[in-house]
């Protein structure tokens, strides 16, 4: 462990504002004249904005920053950057440029800031991008992130809401990092659990996104603050339903343990409140419910693609060293948008 960072109120994506509050504000924003080149704007609730600049070229823009969720500034920098870069990958894009966004207390040791930026910069390089600048603000608490621009072919981007009935759903990282970081905050996480969570959060979604290019992916999103179920809800787009087989969903086993000890975040409860009756559980344990609502920082990709192609992609992701799994299937719209059952069987 390097120099400790003063802990902010619940770091990472647990610091996100609730989806309910946010959509009320966004709905009220004035809109200028429509620009046909804006392929994806905020009203689509997608991972990043996409703007077409030529027949076969569009740029993907995203911005993400948050307070620390781990003590080590270098690791925090890596996680914050991996999380910000992830939105480009969730759209199927290539990372090009990144700008640092920094809030840092004036009287704090600047070496800490140096370590944060070093971690972030290394992830931008790993992503194949170039760090092009940034902006910093003196603030009470530490916050760090990136604004990232990438490129994508307009017909090859992955919207988050174009799934189809009959698609299988693949998740590429285990769930539960939010609960593990929360347990760590109160000194109750084991070093093994924390290390596993850190390894997952610092892993770029680059490989997963690149492997997707060989498959007819209909929809893709990354799991962050709204939790697995929240992002799945956005993917259902009000016109689809799905069934999730809870036992197939990759989770960190310690996250289930800590959930049973009620080391729960406020953001997880907000996610639960927001999801309301869109989700129904059948025989799923309390701990697993909590993990499915748990806000993820730098979570994995959730991918929808035709059932017949899913096993091959799952296999390719696993061969690349990712804890990926087919976790469910998209159905025609029914009364219950998301049904989570205990069964492992998936009619694939």
């Amino acid at each position: 462990m390097a120099e400790p960072i003063l802990f902010c109120k619940g770091g990472g994506c647990t610091a996100k504002l609730g989806a309910g509050v946010l959509s009320r504000i966004l709905e009220r924003l004035p809109r200028g004249p429509e620009d046909p080149n804006l392929l994806i704007g905020y009203d689509r609730r997608d991972d990043a904005a996409v703007y077409q600049i030529g027949e076969d070229l569009a740029f993907v823009q995203t911005l993400d920053f948050f307070p620390p969720m781990v003590e080590d500034p270098y690791v925090f920098g890596q996680i914050a950057a991996a999380n910000a870069l992830s939105d480009i990958y969730a759209m199927g894009g290539q990372v090009k440029t990144a700008l640092n966004i920094v809030c840092f207390p004036e009287n704090m040791d600047l070496n800490i800031l140096g370590r944060i930026l070093q971690g972030g910069s290394e992830k931008v390089i790993e992503a194949g991008g170039v760090l092009a600048g940034g902006h910093s603000i003196a603030d009470d608490g530490v916050k760090y992130g990136l604004s990232v621009t990438g490129l994508v072919h307009p017909s090859r981007m992955y919207p988050n809401n174009q799934g189809q009935a009959g698609d299988a759903l693949i998740l590429t990282k285990p769930l539960g990092v939010g609960i593990i970081c929360t347990a760590n905050r109160v000194g109750q996480a084991s070093p093994e659990a924390l290390n596993a969570a850190i390894a997952s959060m610092t892993t770029l979604n680059k490989t997963a996104s690149e492997l997707c290019r060989d498959y007819p992916v209909h929809a893709c999103t990354d799991i962050t603050g709204f939790g697995f179920l929240g992002h799945l809800h956005e993917m259902m787009d009000g016109r689809l339903s799905c069934r999730i087989a809870a036992d197939r969903v990759p989770v960190f086993p310690q996250a289930l343990e800590y959930a049973d000890e009620f080391l729960l975040t406020a953001a997880g409860q907000r996610n639960r409140n927001h999801m309301g009756d869109s989700v129904r559980f059948d025989g799923v344990s309390f701990a697993m419910e909590e993990v499915l609502f748990d806000p993820q920082t730098s979570g994995g990709l959730l991918i929808a693609l035709p059932k017949q192609d899913a096993p091959a992609l799952e296999d390719a992701l696993k061969k690349a060293g990712l804890s990926a799994a087919i976790v469910g299937e998209i159905l025609e719209k029914t009364g219950t948008e998301i049904l989570v059952t205990k069964e492992k069987e998936m009619p694939l």
Binding site: K9, G10, R24, T182, A183, R185, V186, E261, F262, L263, L264, T265, A266, Q269, R270, R272, N273, M275, G276, D277, V279, F286
Partner: protein, 206 residues
């Protein structure tokens, strides 16, 4: 009763402090926790329900909530089935945002006497529901129900204690000369009434 002050603490600290206090009880007893936000109340309630403790909660003032847990004899963690919750602070997750509109002191048209009795019965039944509305709006003749002399004051107070927002039209109070007699909830205006109704998922008008 052990008192836990978790004001200013973010989740999961209120739950951690409360669980420590329950451990200190070393058996049956009560633990009272003060928190400053509703999400913390929900997380505490969730914990109590899983553990099978009795739990009640109330809003003491804006930004101050009290959660009281009753730990029974032998209510070992995970050994007892969850008890019926005695009180829900907010509509359970899974709830659409329902707004109840009370526009008259009577329910339905016909006999006035029956109408008044029905309205009293409705408000009583409402406070016993598992899923509560987020807000109740009282206007015109309904404004009298939140004022001195109303037969439903206790029920409306109970709804408020369970986290339901109680709003009475200020213009109506003024018109009926009841402004000084409001006994439960807040005074509101047409802008808010209009907003609450247009943003509700469900409007219930008895």
């Amino acid at each position: 009763m052990i008192h836990v002050n978790a004001m200013g603490d973010t989740c999961p600290i209120p739950v951690v402090k409360t669980m420590n206090a329950i451990r200190e009880l070393n058996g049956s007893g009560m633990v009272q926790t003060l928190v400053d936000n509703e999400i913390a109340v929900q997380n505490l309630t969730k914990m109590a329900n899983q553990k099978g403790y009795g739990v009640t909660s109330e809003k003491l003032e804006p930004g101050k909530f009290r959660v009281v847990m009753t730990i029974g004899e032998g209510s070992e963690p995970d050994s007892t089935p969850p008890e019926e919750e005695t009180c829900l602070v907010t509509p359970a997750a899974g709830q659409k945002k329902a707004v109840v509109v009370i526009s008259s002191a009577q329910m339905g048209s016909g006999s006035e006497e029956l109408g008044r009795a029905l309205m009293k019965g409705f408000l009583y039944a409402l406070c016993q529901q598992d899923s509560l509305p987020s807000t109740i709006l009282f206007y015109n003749g309904g404004a009298a129900l939140t004022c001195e002399g109303s037969a439903s004051l206790e029920d409306i107070r109970s709804l408020q204690a369970q986290g339901v927002e109680i709003l009475t039209c200020g213009t109506c109070l003024n018109y009926y000369g009841l402004t000084e007699k409001l006994r439960v909830g807040e005074v509101t205006n047409m802008y808010v009434i209009c907003e609450k109704m247009t943003q509700a998922d469900l409007i219930v008008k008895p």
